[in-house]
């Protein structure tokens, strides 16, 4: 056991029983007296067991009064620990790890760039959809789907935006791109909403298809128009259905021989949508009016509209084919001033050919 001497009374004690006050060693009774005196003189008066100053405060190695010991504040450290305490450096592996972490962060952000773009587009689309601006939202959501076609949220939002802006094809594409239209959670409100919209839209399209088939049959024009109106009411987001329903009304007016109504509808349709189909419809209505009235102005206008229809159909072989078929019947109507249906014309002049519009 190490021993030491009290600087005041000169007696020898075990190191464990000695104290340090301002660098001087005392025994317990003497240190209390010295501390009181130091306090009265305004000096530092706190003392500590000498043993605390004899061992390294970090590793507990005995340092006694070694000259190599390092004093930091009230604590003493051995020669090995002293410099470490004074400047605790970062270990090399930590420096390298932190550098690697920063590099990983850069890689993570660079890697996430395409997802940031997709996410941003999705949030913009979501916000526009929430404001009811579905057709504006759709391109943003489609951009998201280009990167993440399996995202439930983006797919359902895109399908909703597409259906509510009358774009059933885009909705179908978005839904099919998601596991072939399969969703794990069919109870989600977002899914149920899209499901309901999809059923409404596809129901309307089925009706429209039925109406289209009926319209090609003689005597079914009224039923066809009714069905098309139902489809248009069922799915008002698709204006083409309402347009088609109105167009079917031309057929109804034709059957009823109400050529003024036929002409009025045809003129309205042409005004709203100047396409080959409406031009041909107007040419047909004008030809009917000529057939009834004999007014050559109608004939001239009918021929002009047919020419416009031809110009508008340029580039579309399918439209040109339909137009050529119609032009033949329209010429017959203008020359004979007889108004007959297509089926009747086919029966009379195209026997052996399939009657089709």
């Amino acid at each position: 056991m190490s021993e030491g001497t009290c600087s005041q009374c000169g007696q020898t004690f075990s190191v464990r029983s000695l104290f340090d006050l301002n660098g001087t060693t005392y025994c317990e009774p003497c240190v209390q007296k010295a501390s009181r005196e130091a306090k009265e003189r305004g000096l530092l008066f706190s003392y500590m067991p000498l043993i605390n100053k004899s061992i390294c405060a970090r590793c507990n190695t005995y340092i006694g009064s070694s000259a190599n010991a390092v004093q930091i504040g009230n604590l003493r450290f051995c020669a090995a620990c002293g410099p470490l305490i004074k400047d605790w450096d970062y270990p090399q592996w930590l420096k390298m790890s932190l550098a690697a972490l920063l590099l990983l962060l850069v890689v993570a952000l660079a890697h996430g760039r395409k997802y940031f773009h997709a996410g941003r587009e999705m949030y913009i689309g979501e916000r526009l959809a929430a404001k009811g601006r579905y057709s504006e939202a759709l391109p943003h959501l489609q951009e998201t789907l280009r990167i993440a076609p399996g995202s439930d949220k983006a797919v359902l939002l895109a399908a909703k935006a597409a259906l509510l802006s009358g774009d059933v094809a885009s909705a179908a594409k978005a839904l099919q791109g998601h596991n072939g239209g399969y969703f794990e959670d069919a109870s989600k409100p977002e899914f149920r909403e899209v499901d309901s919209l999809w059923k409404r839209a596809s129901g309307a399209l089925e009706k429209a298809e039925q109406a289209d088939k009926l319209e090609q049959q003689d005597g079914k024009e009224i039923e066809a128009a009714r069905l098309m109106h139902e489809a248009a009411t069922m799915y008002p987001e698709l204006p083409a259905l309402a347009f088609a329903a109105e167009s079917f009304e031309e057929g109804v007016a034709f059957v009823r021989k109400d050529y003024d109504a036929f002409l009025a509808i045809a003129q309205k349709q042409w005004k709203e949508h100047a396409i080959a189909q409406t031009a041909a419809g107007l040419a047909s209505a004008l030809a009917c009016k000529f057939a009834i009235t004999g007014d050559s102005t109608y004939r001239q206008q009918s021929e002009e509209m047919l020419e416009k229809a031809r110009q508008l159909a340029q580039g579309s072989a399918e439209s040109m084919k339909v137009l050529d078929e119609f032009a033949e019947r329209n010429r017959y109507r203008l020359e004979s001033r007889q108004i007959i249906s297509k089926a009747e014309y086919d029966r009379r002049f195209r026997s052996g050919k399939t009657a089709s519009k």
Partner: protein, 179 residues
């Protein structure tokens, strides 16, 4: 609530422990406090520690105690932001994104200062707050919440915090950017 031994959690989320202790060490060095011992990671309780000199400087005390909380939270938000969209919103199977998300959550989970760190702040903050020390005024409610959350670690408050930061942080960032 299921029990998973602390060392297992620490092992699974070791980057967070190392970064937390590195944060303590960084602020000790910044405020020139003597460091007596450092353990960046071990299979024990605590999983890491920095033993440093006590100080009367509240600013130093605040940053040494709370520095790792802010650093870990920030890194958690950044890593989770990079990986949030493919993992949560876009549902893209991207292993790299899942790795970054694990890294972010691991770091966020070890953001909380220990109760020992907080006890020093808690002891001095009220007195200094009365004197108008802004840092002390800020640290009072923060420390109070963190003390409660620290005790709630038994019910996975640390993991909950990591997830909250790793989910809500990126959502807030993306919503703001999409404006």
């Amino acid at each position: 609530m299921f029990f998973i031994p602390g060392p297992v959690i620490a092992a699974l989320t070791f980057p967070g422990v190392i970064i937390h202790e590195a944060g303590h060490l960084f602020f000790c060095r910044l405020f020139k406090l003597q460091v007596f011992d450092v353990c960046f990671f071990r299979f024990g309780n605590p999983a890491g520690y920095v033993i440093h000199q006590q100080t009367e400087d509240f600013k130093a005390q605040f940053f040494v105690s709370m520095g790792p909380f802010f650093a870990n939270t920030l890194l958690c938000v950044l890593f989770c932001t990079a990986a949030f969209l493919p993992v949560w919103e876009l549902k893209v199977f991207d292993p790299l994104a899942y790795f970054f998300y694990w890294l972010g959550l691991s770091i966020g989970m070890h953001a909380f200062p220990s109760t020992t760190d907080l006890s020093h702040l808690w002891a001095d903050a009220p007195r200094l707050a009365k004197k108008g020390n802004l840092l002390a005024i800020v640290s009072l409610p923060l420390a109070a919440v963190l003390v409660v959350l620290n005790y709630a670690r038994v019910i996975w408050a640390d993991l909950g915090y990591g997830i909250a930061v790793g989910v809500l942080g990126p959502i807030a960032i993306f919503r703001a950017l999409a404006r």
